[in-house]
Symmetry: C2
Subunit: 338 residues, 2 copies
């Protein structure tokens, strides 16, 4: 397959075509991903999430720039996957692309891809996983996965990453404060962006207090196969170092605080490698992709074998309140308890 070879050799056009195939879930795209998969597992996946208005996109841009122009060491190839599950109808993502392109354009070591989809969340996460695999196989060492919004969807997508940044900003509303608490649990690093705004210290203080609630004692968070059980699956071990999410202040529009943030990201990566958490997160990530695909395949098989007529007839009985949804399933799926 010429396309696979071209992607592996870093051909941008081939990669770009592949990303579209992945987004459209074409047979060619699926085949290429199968072929590319053995070449994945090298990149550092960094998730960036947070409430609207926190300046995530600027932050991601600045991080990309930092990795391209490091103060020391060699530049790294950077890919950005921007996922916008909440804005399925507008050209928002595309516009975002254009604004960004202006900023980082002409650099062959940067590739930015936005995605807005009206599809299901599971589908969106699967597409994101595919794109990340394509970038990974194509030799991008840093892959930034940015999600717009702050709902469960974003949390699920952020779980694709090795290191998750949760971005905050001073002076957002109460509702957002509440949301914050929800996504705090998934944060490996907390970023208070727009740190030149009033109220930055009280935001930092609030986050620190929340962290104290979330991490009451020095503890090691382990993943036990399924990332879902993470918050409950806390174990104490004396020997492994503890990761308490650091809080970093940034002003992304000016680039200030970015080297310190990048240092925290590098430290988290080292921590993951040292503790074996990297392998555990990898496993959890791939397991959740596998589970989603199993589910998708089971439903597709069932649809092929089921009688559309019977389905319609049963649905009509549900609509008429003659069958409950649970009773309807028992009639439609073989082997269900009646």
């Amino acid at each position: 397959m010429k396309q696979v070879e071209a992607v592996l050799q870093g051909d941008r056009l081939a990669l770009s075509r592949l990303l579209s195939q992945i987004e459209n879930d074409t047979p060619a795209g699926r085949q290429a991903l199968d072929r590319l998969f053995p070449h994945t597992g090298q990149a550092h996946l960094i998730g960036v999430t947070g409430a609207p208005g926190t300046g995530k996109s600027s932050l991601v841009n600045q991080l990309a720039r930092h990795y391209r122009h490091p103060e020391e060491g060699v530049p790294k190839k950077v890919a950005v996957v921007a996922v916008d599950p909440s804005s399925p109808f507008t050209g928002g993502a595309v516009l975002g692309d254009r604004i960004r392109m202006r900023d980082l354009s002409g650099d062959p070591g940067v590739f930015i891809r936005s995605m807005a989809s009206r599809g299901s969340l599971g589908g969106l996460a699967k597409t994101t996983a595919g794109m990340v695999q394509a970038f990974d196989a194509a030799g991008f060492e840093i892959i930034l996965i940015e999600t717009v919004g702050a709902g469960q969807a974003e949390v699920d997508i952020a779980r694709l990453a090795h290191t998750t940044l949760v971005v905050e900003a001073p002076g957002l509303g109460d509702d957002i404060q509440a949301i914050k608490a929800g996504i705090l649990e998934i944060a490996d690093i907390l970023v208070v962006n727009k740190a030149d705004r009033p109220g930055v210290e009280s935001t930092v203080r609030a986050l620190r207090n929340m962290l104290r609630l979330a991490h009451p004692a020095p503890r090691v968070f382990r993943h036990h196969g399924q990332i879902e059980v993470l918050p409950a699956a806390v174990e104490e071990t004396a020997r492994e170092p503890v990761w308490i999410p650091p809080i970093r202040k940034t002003i992304a529009t000016e680039g200030s605080g970015i080297p310190e943030l990048a240092a925290a990201i590098a430290r988290h990566r080292q921590h993951l490698e040292k503790t074996g958490d990297l392998q555990r997160r990898e496993r959890a990530r791939l397991q959740s992709e596998l589970d989603y695909r199993i589910q998708e395949t089971l439903v597709a098989h069932w649809r092929q074998s089921a009688s559309q007529e019977k389905y319609e007839a049963v649905l009509a009985q549900v609509v008429a309140r003659k069958l409950s949804p649970a009773e309807a399933v028992a009639q439609l799926v073989n082997g269900s308890a009646p």
Copy 2:
């Protein structure tokens, strides 16, 4: 079943216990829902969604108060289901309950239930559907389904409703403006809350312009079985009246604009009944619940029949990059193309 009888007769304690059973997905809860299902289909389901910071909760409170103390006619029994998919870890929802209870407490015609869940979104939608069915069977005539946040999750849950309110507020950030465009498509009524704030007229104007883009010509939106195809499935008919989402300004904290909003909701209900859209929405709603349950059942059956050892072995090969996720599925699910 005594509990079912008690719920049908409006016993609050029995209802409260049932709601917990539904939330925990217990066998008793599932059985009770089967028994209650024939008694559903009477309530008007009103979804309330919108970005954080728009004051949805106050608005829902005021609507509840309005239905309890109407200017004319008889008071209606009101239930509120507040769904918070983005805040799975905190007591946010519970706190919300308490604040609300103070406001509407002591009124036996009001029942408020908050739900925060770390479960999957599909699971959350199913639980919400179950709670709505319980309230419906218990004789609540108005059921307000409020979702915190503005992502795909909220959109999916809002689809449970007959009438969907999308709440905006002046002066929110650019990100939020972008989100707005996404959820506009599901709005039956647009509410600009906090209408005493500066910028209200420009918010109204922006919404009006977006509406013009979304509804370029007088058209009838029809549902064709699956609510998913709604935006594309637009047909023109000369005889059926057109519903253009009205924009209503409110100041929920003062209660102003609430009677006008309630009037718009009543008018939308009449429209749904007159055009047959009510039946179409009911069907789409129940179909999406049925489809979710079918999927859930298929996965449960597969898990029962699959060998855990084989699953673990295949997953290990994926982690080792020896099998792609797609190849792994082919090995795990019978009848998959290799």
